[in-house]
Amino acid sequence: MVKTGNGFSDLAAGLLYLLPSLLLFGVFLFYPMIRTIYLSFFYTDPQGNPIAFIGLENFTYLLQSEAFLNSAKATGLFVLYTVPAGILLSLFLALIANLKLKGIGIFRTLFSSTMGMSVAASSIIWMFMYNPSIGVFNKLLNLIGFEGHQWLLDPNTALLSVALSTIWMNTGFAFLILLGGLQNIDEQLYESARISGAGSFYQLRRITLPMLSPTLFFITTVSLINAFQTFGQIDILTKGGPVQSTNVIVYSIYQDAFVNYNAGSASAQAVLLFFCILAVTVLQFRLGEKKVHYQ
């Protein structure tokens, strides 16, 4: 056994190497998190300084406020619209891009391309596609004899439209992760299945999906968390409107903090967002772990 220095110097060295990370996490993550929780119990001035301790009043006010409940509903619906559909689409693309065909690399590159697209640029492109008079969606509708639609201005379709563009934006990343998961599956499993005469669907159900479950589990969690954190596409496409139908929680936090200058209420919403994401993560691990098949 080689001695690699005494305990104290190891501790000092370890901390020294970790110092930049710890310092940055401390200043820009842990302290702000604690500060957010702290501010959520206060009434604040427009500069964001706490003025008066009001306990849970920010929270009770939020839970009774129609605007907040509406924003919670918009967030919930947004998650519901984007997560399952996004995962199914990415899974489908990953499955067909995992085949051993000539030129498959090109398709893999094309399918992953939205990962390189920024939210700002993507949103602007989709905004044009949704344009009532010159966008492609209404042109298509007109072509088959329907009237055009105000996709982003109709409260009934605005959130759905933003969700559709978001699914597209997120597909590249989810596709890359799922493709990686598929490529990690041992080829021999398929070979022995083929020898015993199992069909493609049987292989998908009995080999691919179980073996892919850790990856699916991971991408589901990440997609859920991402959906809760949506901001850019809302800011560009709808600004929370029409009639608050797309005012998801992060947009609502942004508005409260930087437009209405109410840091207390914004902090209370941020705390709720934090617990939402924490709950999703914990729930995912609890439920997921039972069903996930690890190699």
């Binding site: 060295a13 940055l24 990690n184």
Partner: protein
């Protein structure tokens, strides 16, 4: 595979590719159109004109914004590589009390949504006098738990005996880190670099908060500014700007797709 099945799969692949690529191709097409063609809702430009690209550079300081984004992205990438690799080294090669606790603390940072901390973060940056400074766009992002994990995974493949032997030979820890660990982990470092650059270049909410003039404003915010000013009248110009903005990251993604996929899968599953 039968020929029939093969061609069917190719059809499926092509349809999917058309579906996924449509918005991008559509944007490129519009960026080459003249005003009238855009308003008619055409799909293809009658001739490819670079006018929109010219006017995109003329109407907003796009080049300046691109430079800002480049400076910010390169700085964050370098910062994340340095800070994460140092932390990962400590977690793999330095045995000290409380290491597991600290590692758990790192894991826990992934649970905190960045948006939940943005109000105090903004106030901190404001107090530091960092509004409209590169520092606010870069320094808060140097520490990255994901990067630390990715590199820790890689560093673990280096035999610990090698480290012990180097210690016996009197080689300092830092020298071992610099001369052995980093060079053999080049692939993982490149993966992380691509990831860092992509995410920083595409950042939106934070640059929106901490920049309010053109000095350090990034290209994403420049794009939003342009879109809200121009809309209806000059879609061609806005699209040309959007194409310019996504070009660097698309090229990077295409060049590093294999690396990125491998790295992300590693970070995700293991």
């Amino acid at each position: 595979m039968s020929l029939m099945k093969k061609s069917l799969l190719y059809v499926l692949l092509v349809i999917s590719a058309l579906f996924m690529m449509f918005p991008i191709v559509y944007a490129v097409m519009i960026s080459f159109m003249q005003g009238g063609e855009v308003l008619q809702g055409k799909l293809f430009p009658s001739s490819f004109s670079f006018e929109n690209y010219q006017s995109a550079f003329q109407q907003v300081p796009l080049l300046h914004f691109l430079m800002n984004s480049l400076i910010v992205s390169v700085t964050v990438t370098a910062g994340q590589l340095i800070v994460s690799s140092l932390a990962a080294f400590a977690f793999v090669f330095i045995k000290f009390r409380g290491r597991n606790t600290l590692f758990f603390l790192f894991i826990s940072t992934m649970m905190i949504p960045w948006e939940a901390t943005m109000v105090p973060n903004y106030l901190i940056v404001q107090k530091l006098g960092w509004i409209n400074q590169y520092s606010s766009l870069t320094i808060p992002f140097f520490a990255l738990a994901f990067g630390t994990f990715l590199l820790r995974q890689q560093f673990k493949t280096i035999p610990y005996e090698l480290f012990e032997a180097s210690q016996v030979a009197g080689i300092s820890r830092f020298r071992f880190f610099w001369k052995v660990v980093l060079p053999v982990s080049k692939t993982s470092m490149i993966t992380l670099a691509i990831y860092s650059f992509l995410t920083t270049w595409n950042m939106y909410l934070w640059p929106l908060l901490v920049t309010n003039n053109e000095k350090v404003r990034t290209v994403q915010i420049g794009l939003k500014q342009m879109q809200s000013q121009e809309v209806s009248s000059e879609w061609g110009t806005v699209m040309a700007a959007a194409v310019i903005v996504v070009l660097p990251t698309l090229i990077l993604l295409f060049a590093g797709q294999k690396h990125l996929q491998k790295g992300l899968t590693q970070g995700a599953i293991k």
